[in-house]
Structures are given as structure tokens and as C-alpha cells.
Amino acid sequence: MDNVLMIHPRDNVVIALRKIAAGEKVISKSLETFTALNEIPSSHKIALRDIASGEEIIKYGEVIAVSTRTIRKGEWVHTHNLESERCKK
């Protein structure tokens, strides 16, 4: 059964529908299965592909943040590796 939700086709992150353990498979009908690199808390974001430092984080099809370092596919995406576009201004 799916353990993540892709909200919008443009997104580069998916949302954990429950807690996902490090090394666990990330599963969604709309995606090819990949592996979670960290423990992902429920409702948190997972990188859907490698994201370069300074690249936009897209959820809801919109830019919600900018990454502050390279994020690998399957990594937990949160305040430790992104910053608000607003704060950069």
C-alpha cells in the first residue's frame, strides 16, 4: 500500500503518510519505488530526486522553499536542509 502521497505532478518532494523507517521502501502507485535514506516522520517531506544546493523545493506545485545543501533522493527534507525564500530576501 502507498506510504507516500505526491500532491502535485510538478513536486520534487512527496509526503509520508505514516512514519517511514530509514532503509524502508517508499511506495506510491504514481512513482517508481525508491528507498528512504533517513527516518521520515508522518506528514513530513521526502526528496523525490536529487536536489542541488540552492534549488527550489516544490510542493503543491509551488515553490515553498530553497535547499541549502545537496539533498539526495530519499532524504528527509525539512528545516535542516532548506530555507524560506522569504528569509533570503
Binding site: 502521497l5 506528514s43 522553499a65 524560506s84
Partner: protein, 385 residues
């Protein structure tokens, strides 16, 4: 997929055909309660405020809300109960409501022999009005005569993932059908103004959006001072929200992804169709009153923690963001978006909400309607004196 409503003289359609017992001021709330006790088929409103709210903006809002309840398409006739000396007495209100094209009977406690006599006279009038109003039949209603408002309240970490995503899909479907979809809660748009502006129909609408969000942010700072940052709180962060733009998107997404055609003031009736932004508060009661005054005939309301609140003259469909809340409050929640977490696809959930919405438009009662869970409050900007 046919929807049927009650056609009004001005071409509006109601999803309900209420006889509304409307107090002009809280001094006469007890009279309204007496009438509704005798005539339970009528819908009574409990007024939130008295006089002594003198600011010009507050008076403007007061008249717009009362007049908005009278004009709302779900209302087939009005028993207006006033006191006599209030700012919003029937004489002052009349110019705002006489064009409503529906029966309005007026009673004033100071002229009609006090509370009990007034209640007696108004009860008789309400019975007569009901007999007439109940004769009206539903007729096929075009989708472009429907305005649905999207609201969220008592949110949790899943609200922006499951429920509001589903509401967004319903919003897009409704706009495609030609209906009007309204959403608001200006404090929930802070940090996402650049995203909303990009979706504006033209420069003018983008300008309105910018001004609206800027004012909401300033107000938040004025009221909350150093705590303004709590608009994105540690609780939000724990729930996976990393930035205020992300939190705001979770709220805004319930309006879908259509072009924003107009920004209306709190309680203002939109001139445009499609997606409309209301410059109003996020508070559940205040927001729903504004949406009703703007002519909405239905509200779809997502909730994570589970709020039972509805609105006196509008059906309010409750959508829970998770199954735990749905199972904990089976008499309050109409449909569960938590099934998205359990393998149901977004398209299936969207279609189920649409089917329920159509049944509700055609007369099926929502849980909040059956339970008579409602409130009538509206935004005020100045303190009372």
C-alpha cells in the same frame, strides 16, 4: 449530475428554503428563541453583538452581514426582530434589504408591546410565512448559479495533505463546471502572496492580493508582537511544515489551482464567477458569516482535530483529514479524507465528495444541519465602548 434549487425573484437559487428569524441586535435574542421554539421549522439566528461598536468600518460590516443574511439565496423569507433604538434598527436596515425580492415582516420589541407580545405576533407571522414558502418547489439550477465556499478549521498535520488537497480538486471541478468557489482566511496567506499574485487574472487583482496579504501580516504583527512567528508554530514544524509558504499553501490549496478572478471585501458579493478570494478573517464563525453574506449557498469545511460547527442558513459539509477523527466523531463528520492514507486515490475521494455535495445541494441534510450546530458571529475591528 443535475442540481435543483429554489429560484428567487432576482434569478438566484437557494440550496435551502429557510424562513429566517433574524434579530437586528442581541437584546432581542430571547424573542427569536421563543419564536423558534414555537415554529421549529424556521431558522433562528443568535446575534453576537449589541450597539456601542461605533467605528465606521464596524457599522459597515454590521449592516453588510445583516443585509447579507436577508439576501442569501438560501433564505425564502425573513421575520426581522428588532428592538427599536439600535444602530441597525429596521428603519436604518430597510434601505439595505428592501431590494431582496422576498417576503420580510418586521417587528420591534419597543413598539410591539414588549418581548412576549412581540414573540407572539412574530410567531403567527412566521407560521403564515412558512406555509407560503413551503409551497415552493425545487427546479433545475444551473451550475453558474452556485457559490461554494471552502474553509478549514481545527487543522492538523494532515489537513494540508489529505483534506485540503481533496477540497482543491473539488474546487477545480466546480470552477470547470462554471460555478463560483470562494476561499479566504487572509492570515493563512502570509508568505504565499507571491504565489497567489501569479495566479491573479490581471494586474489589478494581483494588486488587491498583495495589499490584502500585506495588511494581514501587519495586523498579525500589531496584535501578536514578537509572537507573530507563531503563525508558523513549533507544532506546525513538528507536523512537517518547514516554511510559512508551505503552511500557507496547505491552506490555500483547498481553493484549487484556477485563476483568481476577483478579491472581494469581507461579506461582499462577487461580480465575477470562478475562483474568488475573500479578504476576511480565519476565525471559523466570522469567516462563515462573511461567506454567507457573500452569497454562498454551501460550505465545504475540512478539519483535522474535528470541529462540529456549522452555519444557521447554510449546509456545511465536514471533511476530516484523518480516519481517527472521523471514527471519533461519527455524528459530526460527513466524509473522511483520511482514506487517502489508506490506499484510496485522490480521484476517487474527489468524486465521493462531489457526489455528497450534489446530494446536499439537492436537500440531504449535513451532520451539522441535523445537529443544529451553528454560530453567527462576525469580524469587528474596533473595541466596544
Amino acid at each position: 449530475m443535475t442540481i435543483n434549487g429554489y429560484m428567487r425573484k432576482n434569478g438566484d437559487f437557494g440550496t435551502r428554503n429557510h424562513v429566517l428569524i433574524l434579530p437586528t441586535v442581541f437584546c432581542v435574542n430571547g424573542v427569536v428563541r421563543k419564536i423558534v421554539k414555537e415554529v421549529p421549522e424556521a431558522v433562528g439566528i443568535n446575534h453576537a453583538y449589541g450597539c456601542s461598536r461605533g467605528g465606521l468600518r464596524d457599522i459597515e460590516i454590521l449592516f453588510r452581514m445583516l443585509s447579507g443574511m436577508v439576501h442569501n439565496p438560501n433564505v425564502g423569507g425573513v421575520i426581522l426582530v428588532g428592538l427599536g433604538c439600535e444602530v441597525s434598527n429596521s428603519k436604518n436596515l430597510m434601505p439595505h434589504i428592501q431590494d431582496a425580492g422576498k417576503p420580510i415582516e418586521i417587528f420591534n420589541v419597543q413598539d410591539d408591546g414588549g418581548s412576549l407580545k412581540t414573540a407572539e405576533k412574530a410567531t403567527a407571522a412566521a407560521r403564515q410565512m412558512l406555509e407560503k414558502v413551503n409551497c415552493q418547489q425545487r427546479v433545475p439550477m444551473p451550475w453558474n448559479k452556485l457559490t461554494v465556499s471552502m474553509k478549514c478549521g481545527g487543522s492538523d498535520a494532515m489537513s494540508g495533505v489529505t483534506a485540503n488537497t481533496a477540497l482543491g480538486a473539488v474546487s477545480d471541478w466546480l470552477v470547470e463546471k462554471g460555478a463560483t468557489v470562494m476561499f479566504g482566511e487572509n492570515t493563512e496567506m502570509i508568505g504565499a502572496d507571491h504565489i497567489l499574485k501569479r495566479r491573479a487574472k490581471n494586474e489589478q487583482v494581483a494588486g488587491w492580493i498583495g495589499k490584502m496579504v500585506e495588511e494581514a501580516e501587519k495586523l498579525t504583527h500589531d496584535i501578536m508582537g514578537p509572537l507573530a512567528g507563531l503563525v508558523i508554530s513549533p507544532g506546525n514544524m513538528d507536523g512537517g511544515m518547514s516554511t510559512i509558504a508551505e503552511k500557507s499553501m496547505g491552506c490555500i490549496f483547498k481553493g484549487g489551482s484556477s485563476t483568481i478572478n476577483q478579491v472581494v471585501d469581507y461579506g461582499e458579493v462577487p461580480a465575477e464567477h470562478g475562483l474568488i478570494l475573500q479578504d476576511g478573517p480565519g476565525n471559523d464563525g466570522d469567516a462563515m458569516t462573511g461567506m454567507a453574506a457573500s452569497g454562498s449557498q454551501l460550505i465545504i469545511f475540512s478539519t483535522g482535530r474535528g470541529t462540529p460547527i456549522g452555519f444557521p442558513i447554510l449546509p456545511v459539509i465536514k471533511v476530516s483529514s484523518n480516519s481517527k477523527t472521523y471514527e471519533a466523531m461519527p455524528d459530526d463528520i460527513d466524509i473522511n479524507a483520511g482514506i487517502l492514507l489508506e490506499g484510496t486515490s485522490l480521484n476517487v475521494l474527489r468524486d465521493r465528495i462531489i457526489e455528497l455535495m450534489i446530494r446536499v445541494i439537492n436537500g440531504e441534510k449535513t451532520k451539522a444541519e441535523s445537529n443544529e450546530m451553528d454560530a453567527f458571529t462576525f469580524m469587528t475591528v474596533d473595541p466596544p465602548f
